[in-house]
């Protein structure tokens, strides 16, 4: 970015432009740069630009690059147990995906998916597809890869505890191809994972009165270079 500002001589194409307009052009480039999620500028902190998909939780938006969930790629959400609020985190995302007419595929969820909760969250059950828990790991990964490659699955949620980096990389590439967001739920963090983003939902702090905030740590995100933590109340409604 600084390089562009330091351009003393305008390039051939801009020669005819008056000086005032060239300046306006630079700011235009700024906005272009900020809205490009693939461009990582080391000097900038997270939160630049607004190209993300808002999470619905302002404290979390603040620490995510692009102020929200990425539009495509593989995300890992790490929780010590299932049921720590990881689905509450995704409700606004799921709702907007269903509203766009896309489907949500749930691959081997650990418990029974309960339809009334989906309805309450505003998620149309007609656009929800389940792959049952008793499918083999290989088949589950195959379906996840296929689903990520298919453009009309808006969101693929999968529960797989341990996956080698090679597999994660393959899934990440599939998600890039299909323009789909995939979410892997795991118990353990794997370092050097090639996925786009790794989030950890920690044990909430010992209850301080009525505070119900859980700690969400952004371990890794493309476009961000250091771990950040936000405290999010998943159960705003209750």
């Amino acid at each position: 970015m600084t390089i562009i500002r330091n351009h003393d001589q305008p390039q051939a194409g801009y020669k005819n432009l008056p000086a005032g307009k060239a300046c306006g052009h630079t700011t235009h480039i700024d906005t272009l740069l900020q809205s490009n999620p693939n461009l990582w500028r080391g000097v900038d902190m997270a939160g630049q630009g607004c190209h993300g998909h808002s999470t619905g939780f302002p404290p979390l938006d603040n620490i995510l690059p692009g102020r929200g969930w990425p539009h495509k790629g593989l995300m890992e959400i790490i929780t010590p147990h299932w049921g720590m609020g990881e689905l509450q985190l995704l409700i606004p995302l799921m709702r907007s995906i269903v509203e766009q007419g896309q489907w949500i595929l749930w691959i081997s969820p650990p418990y029974l998916l309960y339809a009334p909760a989906l309805i309450q969250a505003g998620i149309n059950t007609d656009q929800v597809l389940l792959v049952k828990l008793d499918t083999s790991c290989k088949d589950a990964l195959w379906s996840m890869e296929k689903a990520l490659q298919t453009e009309n699955c808006g969101l693929v949620l999968a529960w797989q505890n341990w996956l080698p980096n090679k597999v994660l990389r393959r899934l990440q590439l599939a998600a890039d191809v299909g323009n789909t967001l995939g979410v892997l739920f795991k118990h353990h963090d794997s370092e050097h994972s090639p996925s786009l983003m790794r989030l950890k939902i920690g044990d909430s702090l010992p209850s301080e009165g009525q505070f119900n905030e859980s700690e969400v740590t952004l371990i890794k995100a493309r476009g961000n270079f250091r771990p950040l933590t936000a405290r999010v109340n998943f159960y705003q409604q209750t």
């Binding site: 689905l87 418990y111 339809a115 909760a117 296929k146 699955c153």
Partner: protein
Amino acid sequence: MEDPDSAAQLPLPSLPDNSTARVIRLHPRGGAKSLGNAATTTKDAGSDHCRSDQQTTNRQTASKRNCLWYALYFPQLGELNKPQQEKYLHELAGLVQSVSSTVSFHPLTLICEIRSSLKYFAGIDVIHNKLKRQLGTQLSAWGLANDFLYAASPTVTASLLLARSGRNTLVYQKENLRSALGKLPTEVLDLDKEQRRRLYNMGVRHLSDIWRLPGDGLRKRFGSNFVNQLNKALGKVPEPTRNYLPPPAFATSCELPYELENLDRLLPLADEMLAQLCDFLRRRDLATSHLLFSLSHEKRSSTKIELGLRQASRSQEHLMLLLETRFSNLTIPAPVSAIKVEAKNFDAFSGHSDSLLITGKPATRRYNDSKLSQFIEQLQSRLGEHHVKRVNNLAEHCPEYASQQFNLNALNDAEKNKPVTTEQTASNPRPFWLLQDPVQLTLRKGKLYHRKTISLVSGPERIETYWWSGSNIRRDYYVAREANGSRLWIYREKGVEKNWYLHGFFA
């Protein structure tokens, strides 16, 4: 069989075996009156009228001039109900196809064109005997009387009427139709009760009585259908018929020159067979949603691969993709020696047309839908149908019955108990995860404990149901919070034991 060439001359109308049959060769009476509004009285004008008919429907009448319609009337089918009649007639039509390629359905009657078959079979007697034998065995197999009434004449309707009269008449020339039909009682016509009564009151007993009546008057009194029927019988108006088309069936097989162990090398062959299938489907304007591949092995029972489609298709690429997916996951017990493809069912093809104008969302969504259903089929063919489910909400008080999972193919059932709207869902919070079997919670130091200590957040919500069925459900549900931050859905039994259970995670 006699050489057809030796009987180059049409055989003279010979008497069928049945002694009641008679051959009528009469010359047209002078002053033939045609019926209808354009009725003319002079013979010349009448033939002019015929000529104009011929011009308008020239091809049809030109071919009709040489037609001989053979009607088979099965009065015994009248005792059966409608669908059964239809089924039997279809099966009989299959048999009648052995003498003619043009078979059409009429009430209790099959009519086929036999003029073109006369030369081959060397006479109508042969055809009649052949049919009588075949149909007789079939009819007696169904436990019905094994004979039928028949007639042949140059028009479809006349054959129908003649056969109904039961006189087994054979009329070769169109000019003779009028007098042949004239002898028939009016009962053979398709009339309703009122029309019948009126005809009777007019003193009309035979069709020849009708010939004497003015056409426009008849049209006025009995409607144009009645007059049309008579005109059709006389060959004055075209008679479009819907021909019997044998039900579609497709099966093709291929013996391999040598045994193959590698399924990938079978794919080009399967591709070719699918191309044949898709070609067949396109010609019949059909699509298929269920295919059966069988790979035969030496000295072993063959491997069967069933391909089920969510949406009937006739796209070769799509079917091939599904087959490849199946093959990728398939282990064969022995090398393959032959491959066979069979279409198990056929559906009407429903294409969709894209809008000329770019409407944006709806068009792309429909496109996406077809891609999505292809993806779902792929999933199903790899994982098995029982592993891909959908969820649905039911209007139920009991929490464990309020959600159901069902197979995609059971979609129609699901449509019946239409998904519950938001108003019908419980207003109290419900968890995303439900435990199949509730876990009993323990008490430690007077506090509920699961993984960590539990404190209640909200509740209770009392659910009492199924008291009428013996399994009395009386529970107080609470939303609780575990010390590590997860939200739980727990309940306390209201019975004798008052235990606490964990039933779900809000996740």
